[in-house]
Symmetry: C2
């Protein structure tokens, strides 16, 4: 092999991987959006075959030989090629350290486990899920030992989901958050609660859909390349490359804010993905680099921009046009307060901006103890309920609304949650830097996302995954990460809404 041939093969390999990812992504998207209900087994049959082909393609002998040849010529590769190599080899090298039979057994376990979790949640039956979660925790610890014998297992997985983080950095981060958020929430709760009456009522789905497209459009998404569908749970997915993006939402007739802020959130993810430089398409460098940075973009749009005074003032006349009866007698300030109401609650995905991180913190603390063997899975519901009481001051009535609410653990994603809170905090620090050059309020009052999008494109989006998360953060923040920005931001918001 010579280097030019190897480079061509590297390109061809990534194009093939993109094609399989496109097919698999679309099969999954079809299942969530359009497919008749009874077609799941047929889809699973196809996805099983294509996943196996994809696995063989990305980890097979030819690929390993190619990548090792390129690795041996690393110094002759440019920075992007080196990054491709790193990303492609990372998973292969991890996989090579896990005995094949254990890997196959684990893959089977998590497929079953997701079904069991789904029934367990619906039937409020933690006992049925318990043995699966026990095995998952045990496997995650064992696999981490195989791959990185010198690392703490939970550190290993934290770093997998958000490269660069550890228990140490998360402990420090969450301690700072807790220190100021707990009193902040308490202070808000002592003030008279703000009314959310204007966002509750009866909002026809077709008008909510019109609002969705309006929001996507003013946020600057290219609607020729970004589609909208409805699903049980909202999500964003790229199909094949950043040149075809789909977001989804779920309309609730009785609450206009649910889909509205979902759409803004998912559009934030879509802006990030579709903002990759076009020459990254069909390579592993295409699209967002990490969960934390992805959430920084979605939550920046949803909360920092979407729930701002300036944007609420701008968007309210549109709400009045779409929902004249429902908005009658309310002002844009009523709307602003309604969408910024702080209220400790049971369900993470419905939590407000201020209490949200406490939900994450609870999961982080529990994961840490599970992975250290200090907490048994059978004691998890009790520990969960106790922490909700301690952190949020609320009683959990059942496991369905408690420890069973999230799907993440059922598919082995232990170490994933912190990135949600980190992303929120990253966004607040970006905000501070962005404000140095961008008059955000002036832009938002005109409904113009352009200046903020340009800033994000310049500092974050265009790189796709061609830089590491740490490089992106450094690039955008120009200083070390500091959660103080986030806490200052939340306190200012609470001061404005509750006068605390």
């Amino acid at each position: 092999m010579d280097l030019n041939t190897a480079r061509e093969q590297l390109t061809a390999l990534q194009e093939k991987m993109s094609a399989y990812n496109h097919a698999l992504g679309l099969l999954s998207y079809d299942g969530e959006t359009t497919a008749p209900k009874g077609t799941a087994p047929n889809r699973a049959h196809t996805m099983g075959i294509l996943s196996e082909i994809m696995y063989t393609l990305s980890t097979g002998k030819d690929t390993v030989e190619l990548l090792e040849y390129l690795d041996a010529h690393k110094e002759e590769l440019n920075a992007k090629e080196q990054r491709m190599m790193y990303l492609l080899l990372k998973d292969i090298r991890a996989m090579q350290k896990i005995p094949m039979d254990e890997y196959v057994a684990y893959e089977k376990l998590v497929v079953e486990s997701q079904d069991v979790w789904y029934s367990a949640k619906n039937n409020d039956d933690f006992a049925s899920f318990e043995p699966y979660l026990e095995k998952i925790v045990e496997n995650r610890i064992r696999f981490a030992h195989y791959i990185a014998p010198d690392m703490d297992p939970y550190d290993y997985w934290l770093n997998e989901f958000e490269p660069g983080i550890s228990r140490q950095s998360c402990d420090a981060f969450f301690a700072k958050l807790r220190e100021r958020l707990v009193p902040l929430i308490a202070a808000c709760s002592e003030k008279p609660q703000v009314s959310d009456a204007c966002i509750k009522g009866d909002f026809p789905e077709d008008k909510q859909e019109e609002l969705s497209y309006y929001l996507m459009s003013i946020m600057g998404l290219n609607l020729e390349r970004v589609g909208l569908s409805t699903t049980e749970h909202p999500f964003t997915t790229s199909l094949g490359s950043h040149l075809d993006e789909r977001i989804t939402t779920h309309y609730y007739r009785e609450d206009v804010s649910s889909s509205m802020f979902s759409v803004i959130h998912e559009s934030g993810h879509a802006l990030y993905d579709t903002g990759s430089d076009d020459d990254l398409a069909y390579t592993v460098l295409d699209g967002g680099v990490s969960m934390g940075i992805h959430e920084s973009q979605s939550r920046f749009c949803e909360n920092i921009l979407g729930r701002s005074r300036a944007f609420c003032r701008f968007v309210f006349p549109k709400m009045q046009t779409l929902f004249p009866e429902q908005m009658k007698g309310y002002t844009w300030e009523d709307f602003y307060k309604a969408v910024n109401r702080v209220q400790p609650s049971l369900i993470r995905t419905e939590a407000d901006e201020v209490t949200y991180s406490l939900h994450i913190m609870i999961r982080y603390e529990l994961e840490k103890r599970l992975m250290a063997g200090e907490l048994k899975v059978r004691d998890l519901p009790l520990a969960w309920n106790q922490m909700y009481k301690d952190y949020l001051g609320i009683d959990v009535p059942d496991d369905k609304q408690g420890v069973l609410q999230d799907s993440h653990w059922s598919f082995g994603a232990i170490g994933y949650f912190p990135s949600y809170a980190l992303g929120s905090a990253y966004g607040a620090q970006f905000l501070a830097r962005m404000k140095e050059t961008v008059d955000i309020d002036a832009a938002l009052e005109k409904g113009d996302f352009g200046p903020m999008n340009e800033w994000n494109r310049e500092h974050i989006w265009r790189f796709g995954s061609s830089l590491t998360p740490a490089q992106i953060l450094d690039n955008a923040m120009g200083a070390p990460f500091d959660p103080t920005y986030y806490l200052d931001y939340l306190e200012a918001k609470c001061k404005d809404v509750y006068g605390v």
Copy 2:
């Protein structure tokens, strides 16, 4: 290799082919239904890669060796395995006879040609399409010579689209049709025209959609496995196997019958595909066997059942419920007459049941002359217009509504059209046989498709492609094909509607 290993590989090969077909079918379906408009190049990129992989899989060295090994052990295979072998080898052997560079150039030509046709149609510009169609005709003749040097080229392609037919059989078939249809249409046109006022007006899309699901449901489709979407042109597609079927329709607010009978037509295709025995799934024997038999099922549902007195009487109360204002003052007999109005027209896809075959006949005669070198492509528009005058008595105002109306020739499908007319005629002969044991009118008056579906399942659907079209016809007709049944049926319909 031993026979058991070869059998396992044969199964695995077909499962992989099904998976790629599922992915490619879904990518195409997504493009027609949901995908944002600007994502076509991204989809084409993925489809190009997957098509190439699929081509290599189905014609590559390993596959050819496997199939040739199995072919050498043909007598040890069961009937289904022999049929799989036949179907898999047929295309490979044809392809082996075409020089690779000519094959690749032709594939490129038809991709370009479809774009050119699309613009040519929109701009009413036959001249731009002419050089492409010339090359396509020339290629089709040459390829037929390579593959079957002893056959007439048009016979070769007719037999490809509907195995068993030839110019001789088509000439005889169309001559019989023409002999009785031309005077029949003339006789109808001398009677006072029936009114179609009750199906014209303003029909809201949501109500039409409700009607679609109602029709699919009473026709006996399993809605857990058959989905409905909207597209520019209605079609039916299986995804991966007969266990996941999608039909599409197009709603016109001003004409309720368009989508209504489209849905019944596409549901007929879907009944056929989904009626394959389940053990045929993920093999090349799954789903309908030929275009002609497919059309026999769709047009049987649309016309013979859907436009019958009994069904119109049954369905009219539902129409009154869905469209109370629009149906006010009309009876079910008005509705029956409206959907059976005979009227020579320009566009094949909008033609009524009686004039439909004349549209097909025109295309057949023109294709025959083109393929024999008796007609030049540049003279095609004039010949087309002349035949519409001769056969249907109408003047063609422009090529857009004339020779450019159908897409088929632009992708090389010369020899495809006759199967539409044959399918219609097959259906009428099935009807005669079915009536021996099934009281169709009694069932339709109750909206019960069960007895007809059972008959079709027993005689046609369950076999998928495991029998040849000739075997299926023999099975269902119990006698040689005879278009007299079709002509008798159409004359009876015209007698009933027009009193001729």
